[in-house]
């Protein structure tokens, strides 16, 4: 249990997926312009990563390993992720129409979000057990959501600042992200 808490904490803050692993940067820069879309994307990513993290683990150890086709993992994983996104979209549409209204646009984008495939691959690379894999996936995606939402607040403030013409937009965002990454680096001392 204690190991799981440490694992979750490290995945959430110390090894933050955006700021220290550089996964999901495209959506990080693309969606964090508006606070509402950042929250929507964050929630959608949370669902997809947690579920697909578990499913890809099962597929890998129950299907790919027994049949000795582990070299196919990239292809199989991306198909699993794409299928998961489709299934989650259908389920949310059926059960929670209001949630679908707010998440609908972001779900298809998630298939090509490297954070999703990245977490699935990291689960395998780190030799996690099923429970560890699910905890790691959930904590990582919470870390993603936390950073993307915080960053959307910062970016709204950046718009008001007098920035040189050439640095407006992405460059200013990257410099702000650098400062945020420095702050997150400080968490290394915690564990």
């Amino acid at each position: 249990m204690k190991d799981l808490i440490v694992l979750a904490f490290s995945a959430f803050l110390v090894q933050n997926i955006i700021l220290s692993q550089f996964l999901g940067i495209c959506s990080f820069l693309g969606v964090s312009n508006k606070r509402s879309s950042a929250i929507g994307m964050g929630l959608a990513v949370f669902f997809v990563i947690t579920l697909s993290g578990g499913v890809t683990w099962l597929v890998y150890y129950k299907l790919l390993v027994p049949f000795e086709i582990t070299f196919m993992r990239t292809i199989i994983f991306i198909l699993v992720v794409a299928a998961m996104v489709q299934i989650i979209e259908m389920v949310i549409k059926k059960i929670l129409p209001p949630l679908y209204e707010s998440l609908g646009v972001y779900l298809p984008l998630i298939t090509t979000n490297c954070a999703v495939l990245g977490v699935s691959l990291l689960n395998i690379q780190n030799d996690f057990s099923l429970v560890e894999a699910i905890v790691f996936s959930a904590a990582t995606s919470i870390g993603y959501t936390a950073v993307i939402v915080t960053f959307s607040y910062i970016r709204e403030q950046i718009y008001k600042a007098p920035i040189p013409e050439g640095f407006k937009g992405v460059p200013a965002g990257l410099v702000a992200a650098s400062i945020m990454a420095m702050i997150f680096k400080g968490f290394i001392g915690v564990i």
Binding site: I25, I75, A82, Q125, K168, L174, A181
Partner: protein
Amino acid sequence: MANKKKTLSPKQNLIKGIIKENPTFVLVLGMCPTLGTTTSLANGLGMGLSVLFVLIITNAAISLIRKIVPPEIRIPVYITVIALVVTLIEWTVEALSPSLYSSLGIYLPLIVVNCIILGRAEAYASDNTVKDSIFDGMGMGLGFTLGLSTLGFFRELLGTGGVELLGFTLFDRSIAASFFVDAPGAFLMLGLIIGVINTIRVKKEREKKAIMDAKIAVALAKKAAKQKALEEQKEKEALESDPPVQKKPELKEAI
């Protein structure tokens, strides 16, 4: 289909990808490997070249099958093709350079979800000929390689004091800012490079605009002067007039 659009020669297609539509600095695509693998020039170059080969092969393959694939299921088909090619490249890198394979780590299989590759497949290869698609992929891949190498070069230089691949040391490692090899330095360096490039571009555009404005002003002045001259000529045929000359200095001032 290609005839309707403005077709570019292979050379133009190549240069477009490297400079005008550079995926790293102008389009800001494929940021995960850009930040994650550029801790040194060697790693950046390795990643860039892997993407270059994947792009050329996928663009060619997708361009070949573009007439067979039904439009409704094209994205899943493209992703499967890309995943297949990436797996092949993964094996190739592992066989050729095990050290590069281990330092690129998870970013190598993640080329599958790199936005540049699916983006070019969807935007270019899906309705262009095989030859054009290959050159487009080559240009984009070279642009990406250039972006990653630049970033890797500066990060390694500032972070470790020298560039191992080129075999030179500028200053001692102990006084180098290892910050630039770490995660925060990656964001900062990329932000600064894009910012500087944008500043130069904004300045150039402004100059271009100033020249255009001056040209328009001169043209208008000439036209007005001509009309004036015509009117004056009507009134007094003997009068000599060449007003355009006095407008010339304006152009030089504006430039």
